[in-house]
């Protein structure tokens, strides 16, 4: 691959359409200015602080507890979403029922509702005196201000990722393969497990990974319901904010760097899985 600095005529395919230089140049310039240069600050700052001080804050006990909480609750929420997201997608694609269009639109609510609004609403519901909390409290179940509350918030945030990833694949899945399976004597459960599920698994995994990645970094909806107790319900993004408020830029950077590397690893795995899927489909 020729480097980006070679003359454009030599590295891009010829086209009669104008405007490549203008739009490509603007895209690169704006991308660099808004995304690449600011993001590179994390690497510059990390490199400047030295390995030992990076490890001291980035992997301190408090930080490790926060990562464990963030990744653990995000994983739990992504699992719940994988199960119920698949169910919702299935119901929306396969069955007819009144109000389906409204329900389908409602699934995107977490994309449209500001996270802080979701956060205070969920806290109001699950606080010991709230609509839901008042029934759980006598049973000894505490949701608000515990890791369960964080998971509830992340279920809210992550649900559309799974539904919207699985839905198109489920809709494209021809009925003929299922009918063939039924003709060959498979019952409905066998058809689902052996024919349908393998076909939608990559999409389900994509949705799961997107929900997980979003959950790890989520801040607005979580900080209200979590109670923010250090060592117990302090998520990693909150720890970054705490470090910033104490003007400990190095600490904030180290934690952000660890979180971002994990997120990139997830993104990378996601792309790898998708390219395997594309290769299998022969596209």
């Amino acid at each position: 691959m020729p480097s980006m600095t070679t003359r454009k005529a030599s590295w891009r395919a010829p086209s009669v359409l104008p405007g490549f230089g203008l739009t490509f140049g603007f895209t690169l310039a704006w991308l660099s200015l808004i995304v690449l240069i600011p993001l590179s600050m994390l690497f510059i700052k990390s490199a400047g602080m030295g390995w030992q001080s990076f490890v001291d804050v980035g992997f301190s006990d408090r930080a490790l507890t926060a990562y464990r909480l963030s990744f653990g609750t995000a994983l739990a929420a992504a699992f719940v979403n994988a199960v119920f997201g698949l169910l919702v997608a299935w119901v929306l694609v396969r069955y007819a029922f009144p109000g389906k269009r409204v329900i389908s639109a409602l699934v995107d609510l977490p994309f449209a509702l500001p996270t802080a609004v979701a956060g205070i609403a969920l806290t109001a519901l699950y606080a010991p005196s709230g609509w839901v909390g008042q029934y759980l409290d006598p049973l000894g179940i505490k949701v608000a201000f515990t890791p369960i509350g964080i998971t509830v918030a992340l279920i809210f945030i992550g649900l559309p990722f799974v539904v919207r990833s699985v839905e198109p694949v489920l809709a494209d899945l021809g009925k003929d393969v299922e009918e063939a399976a039924a003709t060959l004597g498979a019952n409905r459960a066998q058809t689902f497990a052996r024919v349908i599920f393998p076909a939608i698994l990559p999409a389900l995994f994509t949705g799961f990974a997107l929900a997980f990645a979003r959950g790890v970094g989520e801040y607005g909806s979580v900080i209200f319901i979590s109670g923010n107790m250090p060592g117990r319900t302090e998520i990693a993004p909150l720890l970054i904010v705490t470090q910033l408020e104490q003007y400990n830029y190095d600490g904030a950077t180290a934690i952000a760097m660890v979180m971002m590397l994990v997120s990139f690893a997830v993104l990378f795995t996601l792309n790898a899985v998708q390219s395997i899927r594309r290769r299998r489909l022969g596209a």
């Binding site: 980006m4 590295w11 891009r12 395919a13 009669v16 359409l17 104008p18 405007g19 490549f20 203008l22 739009t23 490509f24 603007f26 895209t27 704006w30 991308l31 240069i37 600011p38 993001l39 994390l42 169910l87 919702v88 299935w90 119901v91 396969r94 069955y95 269009r101 639109a105 409602l106 609510l109 977490p110 994309f111 449209a112 500001p114 996270t115 609004v117 205070i120 609403a121 609509w131 839901v132 509830v152 649900l159 559309p160 990722f161 919207r164 990833s165 198109p168 409905r188 997107l210 970094g217 801040y219 607005g220 970054i240 904010v241 910033l244 830029y249 952000a256 979180m259 971002m260 997120s263």
Partner: protein
């Protein structure tokens, strides 16, 4: 008796599955939405109205509108330019470019704010130079705009790229061969082709720009009447135990979310735009 079709579930199973899915959605999505409006109006309409017409609330609303009015058009122009370069031409490194455009989606909102503090903050790389010039970015409106533009960066491009990829470049080539110049081709051929997709992207971009919390919270400094956006104002009121005030402002944001959902559904329905997994 009608035999059960082996290619689908029995009616009982269907009803059970639909019921389970609806119960899940009612519990996790509907209930929080209802709670916002109910809490906002709990003490009566009078308190609600005085909460949203309070000077601090009004200035937060104004700032949120200004932020969206600046950052959404910036990302709209970027989205159109990037989609034109990516879908109308073939060049090496295109996949890398697409990945880089998507990058802000995989960064935590808090980290998105942090990087601008590292760049422009008082102890940041350019901080001392900027303060010598008398320019304030962090804890001021420019910082909020930068963080918002970063967070909403991929929205329009992501919507337009698949759409324009599908449309190809035959229309543009025909216009050019008939003597139109580049700009005429864009305005009279491309733009009418992509306008609904563009509107869809702008709609989602706007919802996020107005509702962003984490990134904006890091760079804003929470100065009342100056750098306080609506979501930040919700947090301040909530932390002061002014729950009616917090939910009143939150209900305006929830109403915005509902309008966004309705318009989005209308666009999908009317113009056959379908959504994939979006952030």
């Amino acid at each position: 008796m009608k035999r059960h079709n082996p290619g689908t579930e029995s009616r009982t199973a269907q009803v059970l599955l639909i019921g389970l899915a609806l119960a899940f959605l009612a519990f996790f999505l509907m209930l929080p939405l209802i709670a916002v409006f109910s809490e906002a109006l709990k003490q009566g309409l009078g308190l609600f109205l005085s909460a949203v017409s309070n000077p601090d609330a009004l200035s937060a609303i104004r700032l949120t509108l200004i932020i969206a009015a600046i950052s959404v058009p910036l990302n709209m122009v970027f989205g159109v330019a990037a989609s034109w370069a990516i879908t109308k031409f073939s060049f090496p490194g295109k996949n890398l470019l697409l990945t880089l455009i998507d990058l802000p989606f995989s960064v935590s909102p808090v980290v998105s704010g942090l990087i601008f503090v590292l760049l422009f903050g008082a102890q940041g790389l350019l901080g001392p130079w900027l303060s010598a010039q008398g320019v304030k970015i962090i804890f001021a409106v420019p910082g909020i705009i930068l963080a918002t533009v970063f967070i909403t960066f991929p929205f329009v491009a992501r919507e337009l790229i698949p759409l324009m990829m599908e449309q190809g470049k035959d229309d543009e080539e025909a216009a050019l061969s008939l003597g139109a110049n580049g700009w005429q081709t864009f305005w009279h051929v491309t733009l009418p082709n992509i306008r609904w997709g563009l509107l869809y992207g702008v709609l989602l971009c706007n919802a996020r720009a107005m509702g962003e919390f984490g990134a904006v919270s890091v760079v804003s400094g929470h100065i009342r009447g100056e750098t306080n956006t609506m979501p930040l104002h919700v947090e301040i009121l909530y932390n002061e135990y002014d729950f009616v005030g917090a939910f009143a402002v939150a209900s305006l944001l929830a109403a915005l979310a509902l309008v966004t959902l309705v318009l989005k559904t209308v666009l999908e329905w009317r113009f056959d735009l379908h959504s994939g997994a979006r952030h």
